[in-house]
Symmetry: C2
């Protein structure tokens, strides 16, 4: 059994904590049993490791998330990098190609596809074993996991089984986002929420791939990725499949995609430098900035501050945030990288339209910012703390606090952190 | 007639826009008739100039506010600097000494004392003329201005006149912060709010001064300032005076000391980079940061973001902010100076407790940052834009964008801005 975690999402609905690089699954706002904050990527990966599944796991994602994943998990995790964002059908095809051509998996191996960001309990992973078993015993070509609904939601897709059972049973039909009344009727018939989890034999997936693309290597698929239909696997495959079964999962399942659902799994304590006065009711506050936040007399609200911006929202209203964020045309102000992270402190544009960007970079001891050069700007680095070796144009410099280095345009430079190092980088364009 | 404007206040009640240096009277959130934002200092000073009073005006304040006043008014305004903060009685004595010893004013000159921060209309300044007239015709030794109450407030002090009149009438008594019922009764008797405005002859004030301190020059008073009773002029003089009259002011008067009162005179438009969704009700938002603020579905709230912090408060609750801000032990993150302003972008303390502070300084063309040196830290200056002459240890450097200068500890340095200049300053301690 191989596990593929799909890590997608632009994450605008959890603005300002999420942005195009820092999707919701990377936010460290859910606590583990030891009370430490962890992200959904970390939580799901930890849950898989802690389960008895013993399954090799790879994460399929876009280039923009690779650094965040390496930073949050470790350098050894297998990452399948999509050449471009093209929805789940191409991503799953690329994953199948990776398992077949690169990992040399057998055709009979069960492949389980999971989204990387559901908030679930351990029964979820035990149910995956049942999916594997159902595939290996030939119950169907595709076996889905269906979540036992807790209320007649209008937000989810429903899987309607041919009969009610704890075992794998055939799927009769699908129903996307029904109204509440219909949802209630479906639930009476034993319908389950589609949570995007399914299992199939590798051969089933590679056969679909080969029907679309002639390929003899992983790079054949990678290079012809744009030829794969830009649509969801649900639409392209599931809804047309003749041999499809579902197994119910009767445990906690939350899609932490909005502030409203996310705050449901957060405890009451604010995160960061926050004073929440006693007269606040059902209010959550998260502050990633270095300045204090005071919240007084708020009711049913969420307050979130990050280098990208500040949200103050009624929880119900917060689910409509996407359209407002789309009007905020800003670069991400905070990014995790494999070597640490950076925060944009200032962007200035002068009267002659020359632009400067001031960043604080935190580089972990032993990490390296790889050699690069910039065509459009020069840089000034000033070391605040730590110890690093800075290489400019092939010459090494031992850099200590107070030292400053000017790196002209088109000049190769790299940095190796000897100790944890903090520096201010000023980029000057023009 | 001479006008003394008293500029005091620590300004914690309008946090995060105000701080110990930037008191509420310096906040540019009230609009003038041309729709331009101006501060209360600017508004009151402009109103005095525009009135037909033709009175020389000086501002009495503490050292911490001098740069802000010069930055907001101009370099030529007369400023009387208190050697230390000691309440209104010493401040008024110092002001009298200044008028007598420095300005050589005559004993018969009327001195009008005004707070610098009330929100008033032009009738206020016409009423000052009546105060002057009453003093010159000998109506009383002290003549107060009393505001016609609009509701039985428990927050203010009341002046109870001997009879009701539009002219100067004797004061019968004072009542500080009565309960609503008593306030209602007092208003029926013609009582007026004490708004801290009074007039007296200079001789009246200097006589009080001489009874406390033997002095033959302004510096005698300045140097012995700590010997003057640390109390309010109301307590030390007014409440004990035998010859005191009051003239009513029947016009707009607002003490913009809390978010609740301040937002009453603001228009509905948010200030700064703010999206306020349509479903917000009676909500004001001010953003001085360079990152966007989105407010959704808020009701009766104020949202204020500055380099010092972020406030999200129910308007009613916001008047209790002071006690929470007192727990925020932070340096001011934004200051106006005579040469421009600076914002603290980052404060870092490393594992060895070495501290660095990164500031963005904006220096107006033609302005000078005077020569100084620092015992505790070195500095790195990087020019982002503009043109300046930087002098380090007596040597001039023509500084242009991208140039960087390291200024070691105990090294004299100054800057003259040729054009509007922006630089990043990094202070490194240890």
């Amino acid at each position: 059994m191989k596990i593929i975690l799909l890590s997608g999402g632009s994450g605008k609905r959890l603005w300002p904590l999420s942005n195009e690089i820092r999707s919701k699954q990377f936010l460290k706002i859910v606590k583990n049993e030891e009370g430490e904050a962890e992200s959904m990527v970390q939580r799901v990966y930890r849950q898989i490791q802690a389960s008895s599944l013993n399954a090799e796991t790879a994460i399929t994602t876009s280039k923009t998330q690779v650094e965040s994943i390496k930073g949050q998990l470790n350098d050894k995790v297998s990452i399948i990098v999509e050449p471009e964002r093209r929805n789940t059908f191409p991503a799953i095809m690329l994953s199948a190609a990776y398992l077949y051509f690169e990992k040399k998996c057998g055709f009979d191996e069960t492949v389980v596809i999971l989204p990387v960001d559901p908030y679930v309990d351990n029964r979820y992973f035990s149910t995956l074993k049942l999916l594997d078993k159902a595939i290996q015993t030939g119950a169907a070509e595709i076996v889905l996991m269906g979540v036992k609904p807790t209320y007649p939601s209008e937000k989810y897709g429903y899987i309607i089984p041919a009969e009610t059972s704890q075992e794998a049973v055939s799927v009769r039909s699908f129903k996307e986002k029904p109204d509440t009344l219909t949802a209630g009727e479906l639930i009476k018939q034993g319908a389950l929420w589609n949570c995007g989890v399914f299992a199939a034999k590798l051969s089933y997936l590679t056969n679909i791939l080969k029907s679309r693309l002639s390929c003899n290597s992983y790079s054949d698929v990678f290079e012809n990725y744009s030829k794969l239909e830009k649509n969801s696997f649900d639409y392209v495959v599931l809804e047309k499949s003749k041999s499809i079964a579902v197994i119910p999962y009767d445990g906690e399942w939350k899609d932490l995609g909005t502030w409203n659902t996310l705050t449901e799994v957060m405890d009451n304590k604010p995160i960061g430098d926050v004073i929440l006065t006693e007269d606040c009711q059902n209010t959550h506050a998260i502050n990633e900035l270095e300045i204090p936040v005071i919240v007084m007399g708020a009711k049913d609200m969420v307050v979130a501050a990050s280098p990208d911006g500040i949200l103050v929202a009624d929880k119900e209203q917060s689910s409509y945030i996407k359209k407002y964020v789309e009007n905020c045309d800003m670069r991400p102000m905070f990014e995790e990288r494999s070597w640490g992270d950076y925060t944009v402190l200032n962007v200035s544009i002068d009267e002659q339209e020359n632009k400067t960007v001031t960043k604080k970079k935190c580089i972990r001891a032993g990490s390296v910012i790889n050699e690069t050069s910039h065509k459009t700007h020069s840089e000034v680095w000033t070391i605040l703390s730590g110890k690093a070796i800075i290489n400019i144009n092939g010459r090494n410099h031992d850099a200590l606090p107070g030292d400053t280095y000017t790196i002209p345009q088109n000049t190769l430079h790299s940095l190796t952190a000897v100790d944890n190092t903090i520096l201010i980088e000023i980029q000057i364009t023009g």
